[in-house]
């Protein structure tokens, strides 16, 4: 029993770790889409952030500089997306796809030009990574029944970025629902005409939403290459951006539900890592490929079965044209 309990704790611990970039990206998508700008480019921005963070951290030895540059790089990509979608009223899905493809090509190209090793970055040394933090008293309390292991295994031992992410969730929620800016941001996603009539710039509001999304993607990318992993590997996002998008849709564009969906996806992911090579009762050993596709299959089932028809922000994906 204790063994099973420990297994569960370790899986839950991995869930928190894996969910960090997913939650950040999903919140990014949420901010963007609440202002009616579809963001398929989460994947590319995250990848760009991961590459920048790893490269700068490796070259300067400072993970903080890496994080800042990752955010700046993603802000640039977000500006590009905004320029295409808001200023030029281009197709938002196309712009996002283009960003994904550009970054998927550019990151390994630049990586190869800088490090000459197949497009990846070299492994990052200690100081150039976000290391796991041991919370005070974690070791001393480990012996306490039930609560001790929970504190030591589940709550303690994450990187700063993970703690920051979970602290950020209520902040994003507060920003969206309790501030004037959040109200306007949501309004611009539902009824931009009304916002325009009130004399508030639709374009500037949307730009700010897209930039917030960019900054969040930068942190998500940095968490991939400098906290979860210890170097940039080509295509290391491996569909996490799309998964975040699915979580956001599953969460009906609401922060709480979206984070729950992210945790669910991360849990399947943690579970698949644990299930590999394990022989289950009745089923026997499940082939690795089927375990790997678990999160994707679940996404489809959840979207089809439980969410039903989801209602996006009313103006989502529609460029705003001012009456002339």
């Amino acid at each position: 029993m204790t063994d099973l309990w420990m297994q569960f704790l370790l899986t839950a611990d991995a869930t928190l770790r894996i969910s960090t970039p997913l939650i950040l990206a999903a919140l990014a998508g949420l901010c963007s889409e609440r202002a009616a700008v579809i963001d398929i480019g989460l994947e590319g921005k995250m990848l760009g952030g991961a590459f920048t963070a790893a490269t700068v951290s490796y070259l300067t030895g400072s993970v903080w500089l890496g994080l800042i540059c990752a955010i700046l790089a993603c802000l640039l990509l977000a500006l590009l997306h905004g320029f295409a979608c808001i200023t030029h009223r281009g197709n938002q899905v196309v712009s996002g796809m283009a960003i994904n493809i550009v970054v998927a090509g550019l990151a390994p190209t630049l990586g190869h030009a800088i490090f000459h090793i197949n497009g990846d970055t070299p492994p990052l040394p200690q100081g150039a990574r976000f290391m796991a933090l041991t919370l005070p008293g974690a070791e001393a309390l480990r012996g306490v029944p039930v609560l001790g292991p929970i504190y030591a295994e589940l709550i303690s031992g994450h990187t700063l970025l993970t703690y920051a992410t979970f602290a950020l969730i209520p902040c994003v929620s507060f920003m969206l629902y309790k501030t004037r800016f959040g109200l306007r941001l949501r309004a611009v996603g539902e009824n931009p005409e009304a916002v325009d009539t009130a004399g508030i710039s639709v374009a500037w509001l949307r730009y700010r939403a897209v930039l917030i999304a960019g900054a969040l993607c930068g942190v998500a990318g940095a968490s991939l290459s400098t906290a979860l992993g210890a170097s940039f590997i080509r295509d290391m996002t491996a569909g996490k951006g799309y998964l975040a998008l699915a979580a956001m849709i599953f969460g009906k564009w609401r922060p709480g539900l979206t984070v729950t969906a992210c945790l669910l996806f991360a849990f399947t992911d943690a579970l698949q890592a644990r299930l590999q090579g394990v022989s289950l009762p009745l089923l026997g050993e499940i082939p690795v490929q089927f375990i790997i596709m678990l999160p994707y299959v679940m996404t489809v089932i959840l979207l089809a079965g439980f969410v039903g028809k989801v209602v996006a922000p009313k103006a989502d994906g529609i460029p705003y044209v001012k009456e002339r």
């Binding site: 398929i40 590009l80 320029f83 295409a84 979608c85 030029h88 009223r89 281009g90 197709n91 938002q92 899905v93 196309v94 712009s95 796809m97 283009a98 960003i99 994904n100 493809i101 550009v102 970054v103 998927a104 090509g105 550019l106 390994p108 190209t109 630049l110 190869h112 030009a113 497009g119 080509r234 569909g239 799309y242 998008l245 699915a246 849709i249 082939p287 490929q289 089927f290 790997i292 596709m293 994707y296 299959v297 996404t299 489809v300 979207l303 089809a304 969410v307 039903g308 028809k309 989801v310 044209v321």
Partner: protein
């Protein structure tokens, strides 16, 4: 929005050309930032794509793949569906083609060919059917479901190639070679039979099948009732319902056709060149199809032109990576991404300026 009053040649020729040029200029800046000579780089690319007979053959061979996936995306697009799943549909279509070739490949070629075309189309359509059904009946976001089906398809194929279809005694995740009667005749072989000399290259009969598909799609979309229904639903689903069209049926129809077209990609890649099913043979062609459809304005003629351009980019990019080792093949993706960005999302970049230039003349006349 007011329809642009620009002359046709500006709309269909000058604007895409300017956008394309911008994409190449930006790519050139990236190459410059890497400390390489962009003019030399593009020189290698043009020579590598069109400079000699074999190069042209390779360009046509890549273009054939892109015609299939580009048509697939375009057909779905006419119904306003964003089929990002071309990659998975082409991959599974390849499975259908492979199974036919492996089990029935000993039949004479004239009998194998229609069976493989059928197999590829059926498997591709089947893989598109589930996202299509979920979109039509449950309102699940087709962009998300088709993306998920790419991942699922990739896992399924890896499983099949590693555990079930692997060539006995081989370590590689690939099937046994197809019997020779299931190989597509190469264009230079066909030309040779007619007494014409042509450079050796992997370009094969599948190019003609792709062109036939273009004609077929053109007839279907603009000259049949089903095509009309698809376009009507794409333009305005509410109005379509009022005229007695079922959006669900149009969605299913266009996605099944889309999947079938993507599934045919293997006819070129597997029967034409690989002669067996290999892992990841689609190599991103499904995604390139999105760019092709956008650049070609979802019209078969435009798709053929766009495919030629992308084929040239792929073949020229290979030459570039060979001649300038500092630039890897990944650069092709970067250039392609910029092409999608400037021809797709930023297609109106120069429109205001051009309208000023061309419509001012009109106003004074």
């Amino acid at each position: 929005m007011a329809q642009s009053k620009l002359p046709g040649w500006v709309n269909a020729g000058l604007i895409p050309a300017l956008n394309l040029l911008t994409a190449f200029v930006v790519s050139g800046l990236v190459i410059l930032a890497m400390g390489q000579d962009p003019v030399k780089a593009f020189g290698y690319m043009v020579y590598g794509a069109f400079g000699y007979g074999e190069a042209i053959g390779y360009t046509l061979y890549y273009a054939t793949n892109f015609i299939f996936t580009g048509l697939a995306v375009a057909v779905a697009f006419h119904c306003y569906l964003f089929n990002i799943g071309g990659e998975g549909q082409a991959y599974l279509g390849g499975l259908g083609i492979g199974l036919v070739c492996l089990y029935l490949g000993d039949l004479p070629f004239w009998a194998v060919l229609p069976l493989t075309v059928l197999g590829g189309a059926l498997f591709g359509a089947a893989w598109a059917a589930i996202p299509a059904y979920l979109q039509a009946r449950r309102g699940s976001h087709i962009v998300i479901t088709t993306i998920m089906f790419n991942f699922i398809g990739s896992s399924v194929m890896t499983f099949l190639l590693v555990d079930w279809l692997k060539r006995p005694g081989s370590q590689l995740p690939e099937t046994s070679p197809f019997p020779e009667s299931a190989w597509m005749p190469k264009l230079h072989e066909l030309a040779g039979a007619l007494g014409i000399k042509m450079a050796h290259s992997p370009a094969n009969l599948a190019l003609l099948i792709a062109l036939l598909c273009c004609v077929g799609v053109w007839l279907f979309i603009w000259h049949t009732r089903w095509g009309y229904e698809i376009r009507a639903v794409g333009r305005n689903p509410d109005a379509a319902v009022y005229s007695g069209i079922s959006p669900a049926r149009a969605i299913m129809l266009s996605m099944l056709l889309s999947g079938a077209l993507a599934g045919l990609m293997g006819v070129n890649e597997l029967m034409g060149e690989q002669h067996r099913v290999v892992i990841n043979f689609t190599n991103g062609c499904g995604f390139v199809g999105i760019a092709i459809a956008l650049m070609g304005r979802n019209h078969p003629a435009g798709i053929v032109l766009a495919s030629l351009l992308m084929g040239a980019l792929f073949q020229g990019g290979a030459e570039l990576a060979f001649e300038m080792p500092a630039i890897t093949r990944d650069m092709i993706w970067t250039i392609q991404g910029f092409v999608i960005l400037f021809t797709g999302a930023l297609e109106h970049l120069y429109r205001p300026q051009l309208e000023r230039i061309f419509l001012r003349g009109e106003a004074t006349a």
